[in-house]
C-alpha cells in the first residue's frame, strides 16, 4: 500500500518535471522561431503592437507618443556587461553618423529585467550611451506584454542562491518601427555603427 502510494507520488513528481521541461523547451522554440521568422523578413503586422511603459521620471509612455517618428527598439537589461553595451554603443555611433536624419528616429531601450531595473536605473543607464536613448521599464505584466508583441524571448538564468543572483538570457535584435508604429525591419545587434547607419539610411525612406 505504502509502496504504491510512493510510486504514484514519484509518478506525479516526474510528471511535473516533464511538464516544466516541456514548457521551457516550448518557450525556447517559440523565441528562436520568432527570430528565424524575423530574419527571413516576415510580414510586418506580426511584430510590434501597443505598449504602456514607464520612463525614467516614473511617467507613463505609450507607443502612440512616437507616432510620426521611427522607433528603433532594443530589449536588454542594465546589468548586462557585454552584449547590451556593445550593441547600444554601436547604436549610439550609428545615431551620430546619421546626423540630422536621426531627428526622425527615437531610439528606445526596454528592459526585460523590471525587478532590478527601476525607472531611475534605466534612465541613467540609457543616457550613458546617448542622450537620445530613452530607457523604459514597467511592471512585470507590461514588460511581458511588450516582449510578447515583439516576439522577444527572455528568461532568468540563476547564478546563485540570492534573489538577485541571476543574469538574463534574451533576444538580441533591434527593431525598426515606422512612423505609423508598424514594423519595418529587424537590424542585427552585432552590426557595427557604420553598417547600422547604412541600414537605417536605406530603410528610413
Amino acid at each position: 500500500m505504502s509502496a504504491s502510494t510512493e510510486q504514484s507520488a514519484r509518478g506525479r513528481r516526474s510528471g511535473i518535471i516533464y511538464g516544466i521541461v516541456g514548457l521551457v523547451t516550448a518557450l525556447m522554440i517559440f523565441g528562436a522561431g520568432g527570430f528565424l521568422w524575423l530574419s527571413q523578413g516576415g510580414t510586418a503586422s506580426f511584430v510590434g503592437g501597443p505598449f504602456v511603459l514607464i520612463d525614467g521620471a516614473g511617467g507613463q509612455v505609450t507607443d502612440r507618443d512616437f507616432r510620426g517618428k521611427y522607433m528603433l527598439i532594443y530589449f536588454g537589461y542594465t546589468l548586462c556587461p557585454d552584449v547590451c553595451p556593445t550593441t547600444l554603443n554601436e547604436m549610439a555611433d550609428a545615431l551620430d553618423r546619421l546626423g540630422s536624419k536621426a531627428d526622425r528616429l527615437q531610439p528606445i531601450f526596454i528592459t526585460v529585467d523590471p525587478n532590478r531595473d527601476t525607472p531611475d536605473v534605466v534612465k541613467r543607464y540609457a543616457e550613458a550611451f546617448s542622450p537620445r536613448l530613452l530607457g523604459l521599464t514597467g511592471s512585470e505584466g507590461q514588460i511581458a506584454r511588450v516582449a510578447q508583441e515583439y516576439r522577444v524571448y527572455y528568461a532568468q538564468h540563476r547564478t546563485g542562491p540570492g534573489p538577485n543572483d541571476y543574469t538574463m538570457d534574451h533576444s538580441s535584435v533591434l527593431y525598426l518601427m515606422g512612423p505609423d508604429g508598424k514594423f519595418v525591419a529587424p537590424i542585427r545587434a552585432d552590426e557595427d555603427g557604420a553598417q547600422m547607419a547604412a541600414d537605417l539610411t536605406k530603410l528610413m525612406s
Binding site: A32, V83, H170, A189
Partner: protein, 151 residues
C-alpha cells in the same frame, strides 16, 4: 669611484628586478573597459599571452567592483546568453583574447561610475604565474588593435 660603485649596484639590483618582473609566463595587455554606472556592472576586455609553461586563470579582482568573474557571452539564433567560466587555460605560445561577444571579465557591483578616459587596475590570478595586475582604460569603442569575438 663612487659613480662606478653606484653603477655596479644598479646592475646588481635594478636589472634583475626588471628581468624578474617579466619572468612570469603570462602577459596581460590591451586591457580596456566601457563606461558604466555606479552600482551597475562593468566589463573588462584584454589579451593574455603565455610565453612560458601551460597556465590557468583562476581568479580575478579589481578594487572598483565587489566581485569580478570570467564570463562568456554567446548569441544563439538571436538569443544572447552569458555563462560563468570557472577557469581558463592558456597554452604556451598562444594568446587568449577577451573581446566583445565572447570571453570577458564581468565586474559586479561597481563601487564607482566608470567614465570614458578613466583607468583602474585589475588583478588576474594564475595557477603558475601568480598575480598579474594590469591597468584598464575606459573607452567607448574597442581599441583599433583588439579583435571582435573570442580567441
Amino acid at each position: 669611484m663612487q659613480v662606478k660603485l653606484r653603477w655596479v649596484l644598479h646592475c646588481l639590483v635594478v636589472l634583475p628586478a626588471v628581468v624578474l618582473a617579466q619572468a612570469p609566463g603570462v602577459h596581460v595587455e590591451s586591457a580596456w573597459s566601457r563606461p558604466a554606472i555606479q552600482g551597475g556592472t562593468g566589463v573588462v576586455y584584454l589579451t593574455i599571452t603565455d610565453s612560458g609553461t601551460p597556465d590557468r586563470l583562476v581568479s580575478i579582482s579589481s578594487p572598483v567592483a565587489n566581485k569580478a568573474e570570467l564570463h562568456e557571452s554567446f548569441t544563439d539564433q538571436g538569443i544572447a546568453r552569458m555563462r560563468e567560466v570557472a577557469t581558463l587555460a592558456v597554452a604556451p605560445g598562444s594568446t587568449v583574447t577577451l573581446a566583445p561577444g565572447g570571453y570577458h571579465i564581468m565586474l559586479m557591483g561597481l563601487k564607482q561610475p566608470l567614465k570614458e578616459g578613466d583607468s583602474f587596475p585589475v588583478t588576474l590570478g594564475f595557477q603558475g604565474s601568480g598575480q598579474v595586475t594590469s591597468t584598464v582604460t575606459v573607452r567607448r569603442t574597442a581599441p583599433p588593435r583588439a579583435a571582435t569575438g573570442s580567441q
